[in-house]
């Protein structure tokens, strides 16, 4: 298109200026604050260099938060992808296109729910006395089952909610990906008497390797925002057993001590990690 229209500039400039201002001002501000010793009670801060970052690495709660966040990433990304691929294949293989459509619609219900709602729905379902999910255990053993107050099971229980939301949703995406594949390789494999699982392991999934890896990266970044679920379901407890990075940053900055600068240091580290992961996705998706 060789027109010298003003349109691209008129259309693009306002949006980009607004986005740049709204994104860069907080980012720069976060970095500046992280080099200061600001607190909520005091509006001004002094420049302290890397003190906050150095303090972070000798902070055992921060190290704990990294561990919790990493376990959270591994659990939620791993199970989400497993369930997505498993259910996606079943949807593709076992039911008629009509049923597929209905099931696909039902499977996106959890992810559309506000996370606060999802968290509450499950928090109540796991209630030791009145919960519907713990009822069978209680009926059989006569003992209440309190998964969310047990440091060993709390993180897994919250992760279940995340996987419930994302695994079902991603299974619909896997189904759509399978539907876009050409049918010939499937038929060829069937003619060679390949069993169903062999068709998927050796033919279909390798063909979908690139989009599936991208999907896993998207989930990795999405999993960094565990905050809403954890805040409603456990508030980082019992103890600090479910305290992820964003939960810890929040409680340092707001609940306990109001150490805004310290919290900001953590936020900057998270930002760096996210940007790295995102750049990898972008490169993979384009090349």
């Amino acid at each position: 298109m060789k027109n010298k229209s003003t349109l691209p500039w008129v259309f693009l400039t306002p949006a980009m200026v607004v986005l740049a201002v709204l994104a860069l001002v907080p980012t720069v501000c976060a970095i500046v604050i992280s080099f200061e010793d600001r607190e909520l009670s005091r509006p001004d801060g002094n420049f302290v260099g890397f003190d906050n970052y150095l303090a972070l690495f000798s902070d055992r709660r921060f190290v704990n938060a990294i561990t919790v966040s990493l376990s959270w990433e591994v659990i939620t990304v791993g199970f989400t992808m497993l369930i997505a691929v498993g259910l996606g294949i079943l949807l593709f293989e076992c039911v008629s296109p009509r049923t597929r459509k209905i099931l696909a619609l039902l499977f996106i219900v959890p992810v559309v729910l506000p996370r606060v709602s999802a968290a509450f729905v499950w928090k109540f379902a796991f209630h030791p006395l009145y919960g519907i999910a713990t009822y069978p255990y209680k009926a059989i053993t006569g003992q209440p089952l309190d998964l969310l107050s047990n440091p060993l099971t709390a993180l897994g229980t919250v992760a279940l909610v995340d996987v419930w939301q994302w695994g079902l949703f991603f299974s619909v995406i896997v189904l759509k990906l399978l539907e876009t594949l050409p049918p010939q390789p499937f038929e060829a494999a069937r003619l060679d008497h390949a069993r169903t699982w062999e068709v998927y392991t050796y033919v279909a999934l390798p063909m979908l390797k690139a989009p599936l890896i991208s999907l896993a990266f998207v989930k990795m970044i999405e999993s960094l925002r565990a905050f809403d679920l954890i805040y409603v379901m456990t508030r980082g407890g019992p103890g600090i057993s479910t305290e992820t990075l964003d939960m810890y940053a929040f409680s340092q900055g707001f609940i306990e001590s109001g150490r805004i600068s310290y919290a900001s240091g953590m936020a900057v580290l998270m930002m760096i990690a996210t940007s790295l992961a995102f750049t990898v996705i972008w490169k993979r998706a384009k090349i």
């Binding site: 693009l12 986005l19 930002m271």
Partner: protein, 273 residues
């Protein structure tokens, strides 16, 4: 052959179980919203009970819930409106008038979608406090515009790219200017996908929690914050009221589920063609 059909049957059973797990928790919550407290706090879960509207009446009658609903509607609505007005033309410019920065612009826009909310909320809290705009709907609208604008641009670029070029060429031959082509041709043709993009942006900010939690304390609190405060109540938890407020919070996103799944379908149709 019989082995195959047993496998198929087992697969169907698993799918049925998954569908049940997808819908039942929400259904159970909705059911509980119509129960009296005595019917919720039972040793065995009750399916048959005398329904009551007290919970909804209480929730809707409470000022805090009503204010939260109002704040959510105003902030989400305004942010989505600004996002659409600025974002749709920008997306069209990216899709139809590519130049050497287009890729970088798309990278920048999409990377914003993945910014950790806590990293945005902490500095913004400091900024809004200094500008004395903390805990106002205005500051929340401006903050949410970052989310809605980035989302609308990101999802609308492919929607505009799918509009057949020939149609726009024909319009140009008929003497339409570039602006007229956007408003009279591209916008109506792409409207279905664009509505999906805007709906997605709305659901995103309606469900948003962390930023609202950090940027509001009383006046501008949104519905998710109010609902989460109800869930933190002490011993005598009013379970019915809680369930009712969760149902209220979940209705708007569920209303859009058809639009969203339609968007998902069209996004993948493009790849296959």
């Amino acid at each position: 052959m019989s082995r195959r059909s047993t496998g198929r049957l087992a697969g169907r059973a698993i799918l049925l179980l998954a569908a049940f797990s997808a819908v039942f928790p929400a259904f159970w919550t909705a059911l509980n919203a119509f129960k009296n407290r005595v019917d919720i706090v039972t040793p065995t879960p009750l399916f048959i009970f005398t329904p009551t509207l007290d919970n909804f009446a209480y929730v809707l009658g409470r000022d805090s819930v009503f204010d939260g609903l109002f704040n959510s509607l105003v902030t989400s609505g305004a942010a989505v409106l600004i996002g659409a007005v600025l974002g749709l033309p920008a997306a069209y410019a990216i899709a139809r008038h590519p130049h050497r920065w287009s890729k970088d612009i798309q990278f920048f826009v999409l990377s914003l979608r993945f910014l950790p909310p806590v990293a945005v909320a902490i500095p913004l809290m400091v900024i809004w406090l200094q500008l004395e705009l903390y805990d106002t709907r205005l500051s929340l609208i401006i903050t949410y515009t970052l989310l809605t604008l980035a989302t609308v641009v990101w999802l609308s670029v492919p929607a505009f790219a799918r509009v057949p070029k020939e149609v726009e060429e024909a319009a140009r031959v008929d003497g339409y200017g570039p602006y007229a082509i956007f408003f009279l041709i591209a916008l109506p043709i792409a409207s279905r996908s664009l509505i999906g993009a805007v709906a997605f942006a709305f659901v995103l900010v309606w469900n948003e929690f962390l930023i609202a939690l950090m940027l509001t304390t009383s006046d501008a609190k949104t519905l998710p914050i109010v609902a989460s405060e109800l869930t933190q109540l002490g011993r005598d938890v009013p379970w019915g009221i809680l369930n009712a407020s969760v149902v209220l919070l979940s209705i708007p996103p569920l209303l859009f589920i058809g639009v969203l799944s339609g968007m998902l379908n069209s996004a993948f149709k493009r790849k296959s063609s």
